[in-house]
């Protein structure tokens, strides 16, 4: 699943991403397309047992792959 949060003002990207991962089925991942490094997101993901990995994206994009911590 992909989510585009570029252009959204804080804290909407944060809220959107956390809202989505709560609804994902076990084994599903979420690819986030962001325009900045979502600094506050990582601590919240860790709290919910999720991992974030920076993956290759377009120039100027911060693309993250979110998956459940096995």
């Amino acid at each position: 699943m992909h989510v585009e949060v570029r252009g959204l003002l804080p804290p909407n990207p944060f809220v959107t991403i956390i809202g989505l991962i709560e609804r994902l089925a076990p084994g599903q991942t979420l690819t986030v397309h962001h325009d900045r490094d979502p600094v506050p997101l990582y601590a919240e993901l860790a709290e919910r047992g999720w991992l974030a990995e920076r993956i290759h994206g377009e120039p100027g994009e911060v693309r993250l792959l979110l998956s459940r911590d096995a």
Partner: protein, 429 residues
């Protein structure tokens, strides 16, 4: 795929070094304890406080300058660049200079007040003013380059302008004891209280709440029309208050300023409550019990301000107003800080780690629970002690305040030590 060491790589541009915000928070936590000790030392003098040098004024300024403004400085230096999507300044010296000057100035101001040393008070006030002008410069740089977040940015600008009024009135009041008269005393006190508490602190708190409360509650942003109305009313209230206090319009209009300010605040609280009720995270723990208690105290402060202005007979109304206003802001900020500190600690300790620590892992809940009970009891006992002219209730209140401040210090120390340990282990080759 990125390797673990590039994970969070660009975060460093938006995070200050952990030591910078944490030294502001550490100073605030220490001044918090000193404030309650000073108020305990002042004892019965609190009940009849009408201004003037002494331990009550020193305790009051340990809370306002030492805790409220210190916390606001530390939080805004870190959170504003994140909110306005800007990199933080790479040099450490402006932050270190600000911290050093400000801590030195606050200590001189409160020592000058407590020990009746007007020259020390004046020198301290000048040092605090210098530090806050430096902060104003950093704040203005950030606000000028902000990308988006107009609501937060306008709150920031109004807070910055309030800071200028606050500094002028503060220097005027501090100078009075050394024979330096800048603004007439009654006007200076009115400007000082209005622009320090409701202007600077109120606007900073309201502005940041529009980001932090939805983020913590995992809720949508509040309706812009209502948040703009709240901001407009707050600006109108401050403007009218200033015109009245400078003698440019009828004094009766001060009531209008209070009502407009109260409406602005109530709209803001209603928006925040809506976010809390509609958010995905319902249980926000003790932190938001404190936040709600703070909101209640601040709402009551407007009612008491109106009663004072309308000369409705109420014993020790001015002291009760002061407890509700400063106590309300203190309660609100301590609540927010108890969420921000573990969150920031987890962010710093986890930078570059594939599995970062969780905020709950960095928190010591027991001290926070103890602080909640002690702090709430302290406020209630202070209000009861002043209302009933009862020194023992007052003393009980200050003792509960001291116990609460020690517990809060234990919570902060726990988080700081955990973060420092993790940062040290990461730094090892």
């Amino acid at each position: 795929m990125a390797t673990a060491n590039t994970f969070l790589g660009s975060a460093s541009g938006r995070l200050l070094q952990a030591a910078i915000p944490f030294r502001f928070f550490a100073a605030a936590v220490l001044f918090h304890l000193l404030a309650w000790l000073a108020l305990a030392w002042a004892g019965p003098d609190i009940i009849d406080f009408v201004g003037g040098l002494g331990w009550t004024l020193a305790g009051l300024h340990l809370l306002t300058l030492g805790v409220l403004v210190m916390t606001a400085l530390g939080a805004s230096l870190q959170l504003l660049p994140v909110a306005t999507r800007q990199p933080v300044m790479s040099q450490r010296w402006p932050y270190e200079l600000l911290w050093g000057l400000y801590v030195l100035g606050v200590m001189a101001v409160v020592a000058g007040m407590a020990l009746w040393l007007p020259t020390l008070l004046w020198l301290g006030a000048l040092t605090v003013a210098l530090a806050l002008l430096l902060y104003l410069g950093l704040l203005a740089l950030n606000l000028r380059g902000a990308k988006g977040m107009p609501l937060v940015v306008v709150h920031g600008w109004v807070a910055a302008l309030s800071l200028l009024v606050l500094l002028a009135s503060a220097l005027s009041l501090a100078g009075l004891y050394s024979g330096i008269i800048l603004i007439e005393r009654t006007a200076a006190i009115g400007l000082h209280v209005s622009f320090a508490a409701y202007g600077l602190m109120g606007l900073l708190v309201m502005g940041f709440s529009y980001i932090l409360v939805p983020m913590f509650a995992l809720a949508d942003n509040p309706a812009p029309a209502w948040s703009h109305l709240s901001l407009g009313l707050a600006m109108f209230a401050l403007l009218v208050a200033m015109l009245v206090l400078l003698g440019l319009v009828s004094p009766v209009l001060f009531r209008l300023a209070i009502v407009a300010g109260a409406l602005a605040f109530l709209i803001h609280v209603a928006l925040m409550e809506q976010a809390l009720r509609s958010g995905m995270r319902r249980n926000l723990g003790t932190s938001f019990v404190l936040v709600r208690l703070g909101w209640a105290c601040l709402a009551a402060s407007f009612a008491l301000a109106l009663a004072l202005e309308m000369e409705i007979g109420l014993r020790h109304a001015a002291v009760l107003f002061g407890i509700l206003l400063i106590g309300g802001l203190l309660t609100l900020l301590l609540g927010v800080l108890s969420r921000i500190v573990p969150f920031l600690a987890a962010m710093h300790a986890g930078a570059g780690m594939r599995r970062p620590p969780t905020p709950s892992n960095m928190t010591a809940q027991r001290p926070l629970d103890i602080h909640l009970y002690c702090h709430s009891a302290a406020l209630a006992l202070l209000l009861a002690g002043v209302s009933f002219d009862n020194v023992w209730l007052l003393r009980g209140g200050t003792l509960a305040g001291i116990a609460g401040a020690v517990a809060y210090g234990a919570f902060f120390l726990h988080t700081w030590r955990r973060m420092s340990k993790m940062l040290a282990s990461k730094a090892q080759p």
